[in-house]
């Protein structure tokens, strides 16, 4: 259940937290994707 946002601080705290988590996950994901994409380059 999403709680209400009342202040700019709450907004920034929530969005920045989620965004930074997504960025960390994305860095791992895109590294994995690169390995998948280039996995058969040597063959």
């Amino acid at each position: 259940m999403e709680s209400a946002i009342h202040t700019l601080h709450e907004f920034m705290f929530r969005t920045e937290t989620i965004t930074y988590l997504i960025i960390v996950a994305a860095l791992f994901a895109i590294t994995g994707f690169w390995l998948f994409l280039t996995g058969r380059d040597e063959e």
Binding site: T15, T19, I22, T38
Partner: protein, 390 residues
């Protein structure tokens, strides 16, 4: 000689010529109506919707799909990927024609063509993004024209002039990349002025970045798509190296497109997160946004990757076509479908048939010019006098 003889005996009434001829006649009639009757006679534009199909398709899509020029020349001349060299001339030609037609199409939307140089010589308006877009497009069109000139110069036999222009290649490529980076992103930035009109899922402070990154995807995909069509319709004009390199180009550009699509997908998700727009995803517009994001970004990203891994060129070609459609949908969404989303349906914009007719006419003019040049000039083959001159 034998080819000339064959041409003499050939009828000009081919299906392509007949259809293209009819479209050109229709386009010329609509042009007269547009320039004598004004926008009201030919468009459904209004104060709410001042930009319609001629901006959304002819300009935004035209510029994005012409990005193959700077993407390919940067890959070959700046990053030294010489194995893609045979893609440069078709890409430059497509870009040159694309930008020339963008300028032509802009006349229909803006009107009063004699005022085209006004931003440069009468009133600059240097604080306007439109000035920056106008300046970049004008300069880049000139750059593309000069980049293209070795082709007609080889065809006409002007060896010295051709060699002089070829020496400018690196400089022109750098100019092309700089100008493209500027105006591709600025086209997205134009919509930053309308945060209340563009749907929050499409509106983002990162719009300029989205437009620039998606232009790279469009450019890479268009090169693959266009080389597929060229091989289908102009195979007889291709020399051995062009025919042999087309699969290498598809695999290499497919790989690049896949990786850029992955990055584009990530920054789009980050954009939703930074704006805290998640709750819109469950609305009707949200579903349409997911169709664009999953169907035309994530899906081609995956199919490109599978195609590259399996060396499945057919899959890559179809994915390129799908991706091109995705870029068209994205530009339509930003400029028309998700624009003025809060208005009642009676106030929403749908293009007049004459607007569609003019757009079809302009695309047809491009196809005719492309066919005329490719069948006569050294685009898909090396001129015999300049073989291995690169």
């Amino acid at each position: 000689m034998s080819e000339d003889t064959a041409t003499i005996g050939k009828s000009y009434f081919t299906p392509f010529n007949i259809i293209a001829g009819l479209i050109v006649i229709m386009g010329l009639v609509l042009t007269v109506i547009r320039f004598t009757g004004g926008l009201a006679a030919t468009t459904n534009l209004s104060d709410y919707n001042p930009w319609g199909l001629w901006i959304g398709f002819d300009l935004l899509v035209g510029v994005a799909l012409a990005a193959g020029g700077y993407v390919t020349s940067a890959a070959v001349y700046l990053f030294g990927m010489k194995k893609y060299h045979s893609a440069v001339r078709p890409a430059i030609l497509t870009a040159f024609l694309g930008y020339a037609l963008v300028v032509l199409a802009l006349h229909y939307d803006v009107g009063r063509p004699w005022r085209l140089p006004y931003p440069f010589i009468v009133q600059q308006g240097t604080t306007s993004l439109l000035f920056e877009v106008g300046a970049c497009v004008a300069l880049y069109l000139m750059v593309l024209f000069i980049e293209f000139t070795p082709v007609p110069l080889e065809w006409l036999g002007f060896k010295h002039a051709r060699n002089l222009v070829v020496k400018l290649t690196l400089l022109l490529t750098v100019f092309g990349v700089v100008l493209s980076t500027l105006h591709q992103s600025s086209l997205g930035a134009l919509f930053l002025i309308a945060p209340s009109k563009l749907h929050p899922l499409w509106y983002s402070p990162y719009l300029p970045v989205y437009f620039f990154v998606s232009s790279i995807i469009a450019g890479l995909s268009m090169v693959i798509f266009e080389s597929t069509l060229s091989f289908r319709f102009f195979k007889h004009k291709m020399d051995e190296s062009h025919s042999a390199e087309k699969d290498t180009i598809a695999l290499g550009f497919g790989k690049a497109a896949s990786f850029v699509l992955a990055g584009y997908f990530i920054i789009k998700v980050i954009g939703i997160s930074a704006g805290n727009q998640w709750h819109f995803l469950t609305t009707n517009y949200g579903l349409w946004y997911l169709v664009e994001l999953l169907g035309f970004v994530a899906l081609p990203c995956f199919f490109y990757a599978v195609g590259v891994r399996d060396k499945n060129v057919t899959l890559i070609k179809w994915t390129a076509f799908w991706t091109v459609i995705g870029v068209v949908i994205n530009r339509f969404n930003v400029s028309m479908i998700a624009f003025n989303w809060h208005l009642p349906s009676s106030e929403r914009y749908f293009p007049h048939w004459m607007e569609i007719g003019i757009s079809v006419f302009i695309v047809t003019v491009g196809l005719i010019a492309f066919k005329f040049i490719v069948t006569r000039m050294p685009i898909l083959y090396e001129h015999p006098e300049y073989k291995d001159a690169h």
